[in-house]
């Protein structure tokens, strides 16, 4: 696709009169002024400089919506046809800016302050204290280390998903049934799964999995007793829900490979084993990398199961960063410290994903 010019090129004769231009300008700046005035008013009211008080900051929200709407209308008024095109993207941009960029800036402010929502003092700026506290917090580092383990487990999930996808792509009967059955775990809410599997099936006395384990010779099955076993159990439960996801993506990739490629390999005398490793697998690399990348992104959000099954225990062995911050807030309602931890996590994720993508890019398109 060319990067120059519109793909859908339209020539229109817009007659934009100076009056229209002025109206557009007026709309944008007028509503911006309303927005600014609302903010100023609210700040003043909050600091007590004025007599009237506002219950909440709601007016700021309404002012933002008004400004956003005016900005959209002004696009058409000022730019005519071009403006109508901008209108496709602008609402989404304004929405995301309001919901992400603004809170992120806000988060940076919170991160460097001591803010206990339960205490009446409100927010206190405390500089780098939070960073110092984080540096000495063994549980946070432990949670980060766990995230590395959890992420590494994706390789196993990937292998299983690839195997299942290969079988589903081969000639079998009742393919649709198996596809639906294999998809099911993905549809279940992690919270329900944590009760269904974690709390009842793995219950040490009556759970069917515990019975199975006893029958297999494990006398005192306890799935959350020791740190290692608990971590593996969490990994298995998370894998159970998300293997279908990778499987479907890989299956789609497999079905997009023309059959002739495999046939050619077979005619050339390749055994199925070599046919897989030297033809199918390399062809599947791009899809695999997309699947793994998305899976990593989802894995980094892992929290629901941990919060509900082990709540981080035993001794923080199963904590993910998200569940740790969740508990940090629940137990101490310390917003400032929790936000700092989250922001550090975000920075680490961005660095790690960038390195991962660069490495993949280097590996896929070697430059000599």
């Amino acid at each position: 696709m060319s990067t120059q010019g519109d793909l859908l090129h339209v020539v229109t004769s817009d007659e934009i009169t100076p009056a229209r231009l002025l109206l557009g300008k007026l709309l944008i700046w007028g509503s911006a002024a309303v927005l600014a005035a609302t903010f100023a008013l609210l700040f003043l009211a909050q600091s007590g400089a004025m007599a009237l008080t506002f219950e909440t900051w709601r007016p700021a929200l309404y002012a933002y919506i008004l400004w956003a709407a005016c900005l959209c209308i002004a696009q058409v008024v000022r730019n005519g046809e071009q403006g109508k095109r901008t209108l496709f993207v602008l609402p989404a941009v304004l929405f995301v800016v309001a919901m992400v960029v603004f809170p992120l800036i806000f988060a940076l402010g919170i991160a460097f302050s001591d803010w206990n929502l339960a205490s009446p003092d409100g927010r206190q700026f405390n500089g780098l204290d939070n960073i110092r506290q984080m540096w000495g917090d063994p549980f946070y580092w432990n949670a980060l280390k766990n995230m590395v383990y959890y992420t590494l487990a994706i390789l196993v999930e990937y292998a299983i998903a690839f195997g299942l996808a290969l079988i589903l792509a081969s000639e079998i009967r009742a393919r649709k049934f198996f596809r639906v059955a294999f998809l099911m775990p993905l549809m279940l809410s992690p919270v329900a799964v944590s009760w269904m599997v974690g709390k009842s099936m793995m219950e040490a006395r009556f759970g069917p999995l515990a019975r199975l384990a006893r029958w297999l010779g494990w006398d005192t099955p306890s799935f959350f007793g020791s740190p290692e076993i608990a971590r593996v159990t969490i990994m298995i439960m998370d894998a159970w829900t998300f293997i279908p996801f990778m499987m479907i993506m890989i299956l789609a990739g497999l079905q997009a490979i023309p059959r002739e490629v495999q046939e050619a390999a077979r005619v050339d005398g390749a055994s199925p084993w070599r046919g897989f490793w030297e033809v199918t697998f390399p062809l599947m690399l791009p899809v695999s990398i997309t699947a793994i990348l998305i899976r990593i992104i989802f894995k980094l959000k892992l929290a629901d199961i941990i919060i509900n099954v082990t709540s981080g225990g035993p001794g923080g062995a199963t904590d993910s960063v998200t569940s740790f911050i969740f508990r940090e807030y629940r137990d101490r309602s310390n917003v400032g410290y929790g936000t700092l931890l989250a922001i550090v996590y975000l920075v680490l994720i961005v660095i790690a994903i960038t390195i991962f993508m660069k490495a993949v890019d280097r590996w896929m398109n070697p430059r000599y």
Binding site: D6, L7, L8, T56, W57, K84, F88, V89, P91, A92, V93, F95, V96, V100, P103, L104, F106, A107, G163, I167, F178, V180, L183, M184, L186, M187, L188, S189, V191, A192, M196, V197, K199, S200, M201, E203, F206, P208, F245, I248, I250, L251, V287, T290, I297, A303, I307, N308, V321, T322, I325, F326, Y329, V335, T339, L341, A342, Y345, I349, I353
Partner: protein
């Protein structure tokens, strides 16, 4: 008729057949084994919701054969046949949570599909320049939201929503859910629109439609299956969402996963009622999964194949 057989399968042919047979056996074995792994927890939950204490302790598995199903679990939810017509506070509570979940999931998915389709269409057809941001940058700006872990936004939103009086409201939850699924919708829809030839819109424009007219009457109907896929996928993600709901809602807007989670600890070995609750929380999505499986797969696959 001579009893000597003229045509024999050679040993090699027989070996081939045997190998083919064992191969098939292994494949179906694996398939059935994995089906068991996938479906057993669901089966377990549904059957457990009809058990009573001795059945749970004895580990009875198969209804009617080694235990008689009872309505105990569903009765505690107020959903069994003999309680369905009577007043039940638990059922009121459950239905309220169920409605909250449904409304926030459907509304946020719909909003995300509307915003996302428009943005994806624009990005796949026109060149933009917002300041230094060009098309790939804008695309990346949207997709990069995927990387953002929910924790980063959670606490700031907690404070912001408190100030905006949006805490514990459905609107607040809907806005946040829309944000979380928007990148996925944009990703799927961009793929959809790229597959539609531009000539279609050109013809429509020649015939006198405006750009928005062509978008609404020509492009959208073609892209409808993709939109449904994006909608269903968003629905699954938002219906199951727990983290934000647990932090941002307390009484009014509490969703079903939060209710399930809050019951988990308090029930002890009272499995039947927990099982009934879990079962009713997963039924809607199981139905969606079975009926609309095609769309879910389409949605997830669209990003993979390029």
């Amino acid at each position: 008729m001579a009893d000597t057989q003229i045509f024999h399968d050679t040993d090699r042919d027989l070996a081939h057949k045997a190998r083919w047979f064992t191969g098939r056996l292994a494949i179906y074995g694996i398939l059935l084994f994995w089906t068991l792994i996938c479906l057993f927890p669901i089966y377990w939950t549904f059957t457990t919701s009809f058990k009573i204490a001795p059945d749970v302790m004895k580990g009875n598995m198969i209804p009617f054969w080694d235990y008689t199903p009872q309505w105990r679990g569903w009765k505690s939810l107020g959903l069994s046949p003999d309680t369905i017509n009577t007043e039940s506070t638990v059922r009121e509570e459950f239905l309220k949570r169920f409605t909250n979940s449904t409304i926030s999931a459907v509304a946020s998915s719909a909003l995300a599909v509307v915003l996302g389709s428009m943005a994806a269409y624009g990005l796949s057809r026109f060149r933009y320049k917002f300041g230094f941001m060009r098309n790939p940058d804008i695309s990346f700006f949207f997709l990069s939201q995927l990387i953002l872990p929910p924790v980063v936004l959670a606490l700031p939103f907690l404070v912001l929503y408190k100030e905006l009086a949006l805490l514990d409201t459905r609107i607040g939850l809907i806005l946040l859910y829309t944000l979380t699924v928007l990148p996925i919708v944009i990703w799927i829809m961009q793929d959809q629109f790229r597959a539609i030839p531009v000539e279609l819109e050109e013809a429509a424009l020649v015939d006198g439609l405006s750009i928005w007219g062509a978008f609404a009457t020509i492009v959208l109907p073609i892209a409808l299956p993709g939109m449904v896929a994006a909608f269903i996928l968003s629905l699954v993600l938002t219906w199951n969402e727990y983290f934000f709901a647990a932090l941002l809602t307390s009484t009014d807007a509490k969703t079903l996963p939060v209710m399930v989670a809050s019951q988990t600890g308090s029930q002890g070995i009272n499995w039947w009622s927990m099982a009934a609750l879990s079962a009713s929380a997963i039924i809607p999505l199981i139905v969606i999964g079975i009926v609309l499986e095609r769309y879910i797969i389409k949605g997830m696959a669209s990003g993979a194949v390029k």
